[in-house]
Amino acid sequence: MEPAEVEFLAEKEPVTVVPNFSLDRIYLIGGDLGPFNPGLPMEVPLWLAVNLKQRQKCRIMPPEWMDVEKLEEIREQERREDTFTPMPSPYYMELTKLLLNHASDNIPKADEIRTLVKDIWDTRLSKLRLSADRFVREQEAHAKLDNLTLMEINTTAAFFTESLNHMYKLRTNLQPIEGAQSQEY
């Protein structure tokens, strides 16, 4: 899966915006939204929030976890433990990126948050690489991957499963199969 497609999925996540316009309730196929009143916080999907923000029709309230202290705590915990710790949002990376790119003026200490989230991401990816390495070396047939987010899985998924398939092929061809079907063509 392309990173853009994971981001597409992340855009469904609800975020809170403070609109500066008023609009009646709208009946989208995916559910109802509104009514919008100036100054009243509203929950909308991220794709709409970013669009409204681009038209300067709202202010985006950062999610609760997008806060320097909270993120520092998460970073420390992620570094302390060997396993993957639960993330505050299954799309934390995509949300951070989209919100910081489009609404950094609404997020206090945006630069610090960017660095912290990047730190957390790097720590987790190095864990992911380590466990992938162990998975291959021990020739495991099953792994549990709790708390990994879709974006993290998709950084390596295509390459990783493809390599496993190749290794499997090489390994099974070492022990000749009767009739050796694969040799026919």
């Binding site: 899966m1 497609e5 597409f8 999925l9 855009e11 316009f21 609009l23 009646d24 709208i26 009946y27 989208l28 196929i29 995916g30 559910g31 939204l33 794709w47 709409l48 669009n51 029709k57 998975f135 020739q139 495991e140 047939a141 099953h142 792994a143 549990k144 991957l145 709790d146 708390n147 990994l148 879709l150 899985i153 998924a157 990783f160 499963t161 496993l164 398939n165 499997y168 390994r171 026919e184 063509y185």
Partner: protein, 223 residues
Amino acid sequence: MADELELFEQGSDAGSDEVLLTPAELIRQLEEAWLNEKFAPDLLESKSEIVECVIEQLSHMEENLQRAKKGDLKVSIHRMEIERIRYVLSSYLRCRLLKIEKFFPHVVEKEKLRAKEDPSDLSPEEFTFAKEYLENTEMYLKNVVLKHMPPNLQSIDLLKSVPLPNLDSFVFLRVKERQENILIEPETDEQREYTVDLEEGSQHLIRYKTIAPLVASGAVQLI
């Protein structure tokens, strides 16, 4: 004007089992089918009922928007949503066509061997596509190469020359309904087989073959 845009929570008819779905639920199911199709190594059962309902919803909404006045904020929000849904829909259908092109002799063969009462993996349109693709490929190979070959080399068995989907490949999944005693086959001779329980909400990396029926039943979601 606003009234014209309203789309009430109509129950959409999800085909034979007559389940009533809200449009929101329908879209969610389309997205799940899309992800499963994207990650599964073989062609999954066609969700033509969902596809039809979504198309119906989209054209219904388009019609409503035709009547609304241009430049309205509401209209542009609706348009954006329609574009998003249409993207998922076309990506889903395109993904299936790619797989049909990749495994076409097997797809057609499976459809031929299918018992009448079993549900088809293909929608009628996809079946037509697969059949024509097979015929055209055969024709092409014949015209370009085979008829210039010595008589004993003029036939080709496409079933043997096109690779089968690799059901042994690994997939990532998230568990939606708890499953017990999934048998894991050993990778090497020194290892033993063992079973695992799949807890609800947990995520796993596992061979597709092991859990293929769970994908079909909707107990797990590929990611």
